[in-house]
């Protein structure tokens, strides 16, 4: 099963390599990992998406907790949470190339997914999509036939719903 794990760490040199090193050294798998400072910048929040059965996830949580600069570890999958990911995708929509499809169709897809066009040239569009990983996958699947030149995804970030910390 997939788990979204949120890790609050001291924002100090080397902390990311400690977390990443833990996963590679112990053979835990990481689907995605995002990190950025939060609050006043003293701490960072790392969001990890990993997969494994119960005992493996239990070890992952314990091992993360054991790292000295780790302040708090939460398995968000345990309870209701909001997860989001951001996708930037560059679609080629050259005028005069019907096989690459029309810009209009692409713009329709943008609308359906409540995405946004953030850059446009005569031959290309960059589209920004946010949402669950599933939504991003679905949107990408629709855009692919038009010619995806490049793309980047952030990996999931998430927060627990309600007042829970």
């Amino acid at each position: 099963m997939r788990h979204i794990i949120s890790v609050l760490v001291e924002n100090e040199a080397g902390v990311l390599s400690r977390v990443a090193g833990l996963f590679s050294a112990r053979g835990f798998n990481v689907e995605s990992l995002t990190v950025a400072p939060v609050g006043t910048g003293e701490t960072s929040r790392i969001t990890l998406v990993t997969a494994g059965d119960g005992p493996i996830i239990e070890q992952i949580l314990k091992q993360l907790n054991k790292l000295v600069p780790v302040i708090q570890v939460t398995d968000l999958s345990d309870s209701p949470h909001v997860g989001r990911e951001l996708l930037l995708v560059k679609v080629l929509t050259e005028a005069g190339h019907p096989e690459r499809g029309g810009r209009q169709e692409v713009l329709n897809i943008v609308q359906i997914f409540q995405a946004r066009v953030v850059d446009a040239t005569p031959g290309s569009l960059i589209i920004e999509v946010t949402g669950s990983a599933d939504k991003l996958d679905a949107c990408l699947a629709l855009l692919e036939p038009y010619g995806v030149a490049d793309m980047v995804r952030t990996g999931q970030v998430a927060l627990a719903r309600g007042s829970r910390k």
């Binding site: 760490v9 040199a13 090193g21 314990k62 000295v68």
Partner: protein, 568 residues
């Protein structure tokens, strides 16, 4: 008060009560060495002959005293030579502070002379490590390093100090109160509900067994352990790392368990209905085939490190906490058994265990022609009444030492269990002898292992350390040869050490006393002579070339599928 980085290092060491440092100098470490030299009356530096030796010596010092052992090495090759020592200490949870020098901050990352990414290299073999880029962080980092090394589950911590940092002035403030790190707070006391459950389970069990490990030694919890064992008349088995935490001569002790454990211990594990693991981590050398491990038992696991719990074996009752604190909590509630029926259960369990013990699985015979290693260790144990500090290398001699030396006290047994580091024994003994100048410190080693770090004889002689070295010389990398005999059809690939130095002459070349015999009837007299000699002694015992350690549980087999010796 303004101090340089080097002055801060020495001051912090003294504040932590450090009196000895094991190390080896080099360019990047010169400011620190200069400062240590100025303060040599208060802080003694022991110059080893290889940085690996410095780390093992600090490790031996730590195992014997329970304090943090301190090592100091230079950048680059100094740091890489320290890695094996760090990994050894990390696997066995030994508190060490290793200070490594680094190239100056502006050169870091430039492939500078003698630069390596020390924190990168040592990240996975230290409990924590630091690169100090700013001298203003130095005192805090050193205090944190000591605290992390010795608290919770102990372990080695490395602090990497660039040369310019050690020569920069900074305002120094003495420590105010205890170190606190908000992201690091080990649990000490056990949860009361769990403690009560444990007491109920202990008093209800019909066939209980204590399985105790290095955590009891690390927590200085022998007294509490002995109280519990005696109150309930429990059988107790130790891991390799737990030896000495319960006196081997007490009848309740049924020997070591695991791959080379006793028949009675492994059978008891396989048949008990309650297994209480105390400061032990269910290592694969202990469990054998996990699916068949202690299948009839409910398991209680007491450990300060939550990651040790339910890692290899699912447990029924986890108790996270310091062994000493938790045993105090349990002992406060436990009652001597008054119920006649329960007393009978335990007696019946003991009868069963005695029947297994009667198999006498460690039996060997000493003829009058070839020395058996077991006989040398047994004689050594008798001569020292089980009171010496014993360090070992890795191999058959290590297992025989574990089986035949009857340890009476904790912190008298230094062996690399987790990493299995050949070359550990002699430098660890140096650390132990420095810590306990008046105690007999004896290295039990093999002819293979002693040649890794034999150079530390120089250190023994320089500081007049009367370490005694007992080589069980079989001319083979014996333990590996044994595996080849059992599992590779006697194809002895690269385990015959055809050429060995004349160990007696080698000892003499360093200025030590060298003794040798190949005659069983001389074993005792050579040992006596060696033990009585006031200086460093190396004793070369030519033992049976192809002897095997029994019992043995082949890797991946269940504990009750152990091989017993040819004689049984």
């Amino acid at each position: 008060m303004q101090l340089t980085g080097a002055e801060i290092v020495v001051r912090c060491l003294l504040e932590e009560g450090v009196r000895v440092v094991f190390g080896y100098p080099g360019g990047a470490a010169l400011y620190i060495y200069d400062e240590m030299h100025k303060q040599e009356e208060r802080l003694t530096h022991f110059l080893v002959r290889h940085e690996q030796g410095a780390l093992h010596a600090a490790d031996g010092y730590a195992r014997v005293t329970g304090e943090v052992g301190v090592a100091l090495v230079t950048s680059g090759p100094g740091a890489t030579n320290a890695v094996t020592g760090l990994a050894t200490a990390y696997m066995d949870s030994i508190p060490i502070l290793c200070i490594s020098a680094q190239v100056p901050v502006p050169l870091i990352g430039n492939d500078a002379f003698q630069e390596v990414d020390t924190v990168g290299i040592t990240r996975s073999c230290t409990k924590h490590n630091y690169l100090v880029r700013d001298v203003r962080d130095l005192a805090r980092v050193l205090r944190e390093a000591f605290y992390i090394a010795k608290s919770g589950r102990p372990g080695p911590v490395l602090v990497d100090i660039p040369k310019d940092v050690s020569n920069t002035l900074c305002e120094y403030t003495p420590p105010d109160g205890d170190v606190t790190i908000r992201s690091y707070r080990p649990t000490i006391k056990g949860h009361m509900r769990q403690i009560r459950r444990a007491v109920e389970m202990l008093q209800a069990a019909k066939r209980p067994l204590l399985y105790t490990g290095g955590g009891v030694v690390l927590a200085n919890a022998s007294k509490g352990l002995q109280q519990l064992t005696r109150t309930l008349n429990l059988p107790i088995t130790n891991t390799l790392m737990g030896l000495g935490s319960f006196p081997a001569t007490d009848g309740r002790f049924i020997g070591m368990l695991g791959m080379h454990g006793t028949y009675e211990a492994n059978m008891a594990v396989s048949h008990c209905d309650l297994l209480v693991a105390i400061g032990a981590r269910f290592d694969d050398r202990v469990t054998g085939k996990v699916a068949d491990f202690a299948t009839q038992a409910k398991i209680i696991h007491i450990d300060v490190d939550p990651t040790s719990i339910s890692k290899n074996v699912r447990v029924d009752l986890p108790i996270v906490g310091d062994v000493r604190a938790v045993l105090e909590q349990i002992n406060a509630l436990i009652q001597e058994e008054n119920c006649a029926e329960k007393q009978e259960d335990i007696l019946r369990w003991w009868e069963q265990i005695e029947a297994w013990r009667a198999k006498n699985c460690l039996h060997f015979t000493q003829d009058d022609r070839v020395i058996e290693s077991q006989y040398v260790i047994q004689t050594l144990c008798n001569l020292t009444r089980g009171q010496a500090i014993i360090s070992t290398d890795v191999g058959q001699h290590q297992m025989w030492a574990a089986q035949f030396y009857e340890f009476q006290y904790p912190r008298h047994w230094l062996t690399s269990g987790g990493l299995g580091t050949m070359g550990y024994g002699l430098p660890a003994a140096i650390g132990a002898q420095v810590a306990r100048p008046n105690k007999p410190v004896i290295v039990i080693t093999g002819d293979g292992s002693i040649q890794m770090n034999i150079q530390e004889l120089g250190t023994c002689l320089q500081y007049r350390l009367p370490v005694k070295i007992v080589i069980l010389n079989n001319g083979f990398l014996g333990m590996v040869r044994q595996w080849q005999e059992f599992f590779y059809n006697k194809r002895y690939a690269q385990t015959d050490l055809e050429i060995a130095p004349d160990f007696v002459k080698l000892a003499e070349a360093y200025g030590a006393l060298g003794l040798r015999t190949d005659r069983p009837d001389e074993v005792e007299s050579i040992l006596r002579q060696g033990l009585e000699h006031p200086g460093t002694v190396l004793m070369d015992f030519r033992v049976r070339r192809e002897a095997n350690v029994y019992p043995m549980v082949p890797a991946g087999k269940a504990l009750n599928e152990m091989l017993l010796g040819e004689l049984l």
